[in-house]
Subunit: 233 residues, 2 copies
DNA sequence: ACAGTTTTTATGTATGTACATAATGTCATT
DNA sequence: AATGACATTATGTACATACATAAAAACTGT
């Protein structure tokens, strides 16, 4: 019965993970403290700490000073979705990317938009609508409002050949953002653009990015029917 | 012009993040090496390393030995979704949780199910269907197949009062899983269960969990119209 | 000019130590 | 019994150091 020694923090993490999944340490249970684990694993406490910290970050452990470390009672699985530029997303699948600008104009947005972007209700914003295509079939419809006050350079861009999706990410600073996923029925117009049946169920991503207290841009992406995003747990 | 010293790795991370967002270091650009940054920030290299490593993990930096650290050219935003037990999800919103088992029986699953679960095509699995409710209105419809070979204890459970969603997470070990999000049209039966219009656009989550090479359970969750999941970036 | 080898360099990570911090428990005082 | 002071303990984190590792760059011999 030789004790396998764990040389790096990842291997410690794996072992701890194994014990959690195998229910050696059950949900809600207290696990041994760092010093003891370090002793058992034959490594420094720092190493154990790094491993446990990483697991706590991903929600599998609850740690509190003095109180100790316990397996999360409600194992929150954190699904991490990689939100990337649509062009890359398509090219990564080995498909040909296509882009087509549908519309670009300045307009006073609906109240729902100016409200969530916290811009003045009468203030005109830049409105860009475009279609992303994969292998010449519609992939996603992008409907975007841009705050010209913040994205100054973005205002003069035509978005005819390079998508706002890509341009903004590359050139416009932002500090934080919100993202939401939902399902919605295709309106007649959306159906036409995406070449699908009216009322088809579409996967929607809404994103709103901020630079400090000012909204940079708000975008809705509607994906063609059948689209799904997947990840491993 | 006093140089603010950065005492902990989080503050270093914040400063680096600020510089990325403010485009002091532009996408694709090489940033100073750890030693130099440590000098500038007045802290140890370890501290800088911890900060940069954390940022690399979240996709904002690309790091390669010897080559150095550069701002990700394609800033992959990682949206982290907390997938928790539905009861908790509802209670966290301050709503009353309700649960109702619709069906529980043993059956040979459709090929699509046995195929993805890699069980024998003729092997019967446990099929459980149930409705989760929030404040007495339908919230999500759960349609689940359980592999009795793996989830032995789960097989004898009736799931009449406690959902399989909750029971399995608590008592059945697993090693890894897959999750997918999509949009789908409500079938007549699903519409009836969720009390919505036929063909409504529904948000769907499909999850498949494994214990080693054996599938534990495969579940589809259909959420009532209007449901959205959101997170910050 | 080319292929193979060595050096250099930036990141990756373990370690011992030291101290900070938060939560808990203990104990004396009232 | 309630209050407050203090000790204890587990985690949180910084630091200096040492060495590992990957990859680029420089060098070498043919």
């Amino acid at each position: 019965m030789n004790k396998p020694s764990f040389r790096n923090w990842q291997s410690v993490q794996e072992e701890v993970l194994r014990r959690i999944h195998a229910r050696v340490w059950k949900p809600g249970e207290l696990i041994p403290n760092e010093a003891d684990l370090a002793l058992e694993f034959g490594c420094a406490r720092t190493t154990v700490n790094r491993a446990l910290q990483s697991l706590a970050e991903s929600g599998l452990l609850d740690r509190r000073r003095k109180a100790g470390t316990r397996v999360a009672a409600q194992p929150v699985a954190k699904a991490t979705l990689d939100i990337t530029v649509i062009r890359i997303e398509i090219e990564d699948r080995g498909q040909k990317y296509g882009y087509q600008r549908i519309e670009r104009h300045e307009a006073v947005p609906p109240l729902a938009i100016s409200g969530s972007m916290k811009t003045h209700a009468t203030r005109p914003l830049l409105h860009v609508r475009a279609l992303h295509m994969a292998d010449d079939t519609p992939y996603a419809f992008e409907d975007r409002w841009i705050n010209p006050e913040v994205a100054r350079d973005g205002f003069s861009e035509s978005y005819e050949t390079v998508s706002a999706n890509e341009w903004l990410l590359k050139y416009v600073p932002y500090t934080h953002g919100e993202i939401a996923f939902s399902a919605t029925s295709a309106s007649p117009e959306e159906a036409k653009i995406l070449c699908c049946q009216k009322n088809s169920a579409l996967f929607a991503i809404d994103r709103l990015t901020w630079d400090g207290t000012l909204a940079v841009t708000k975008v809705r992406l509607l994906f063609a029917p059948g689209h799904q995003i997947r990840t491993i747990l």
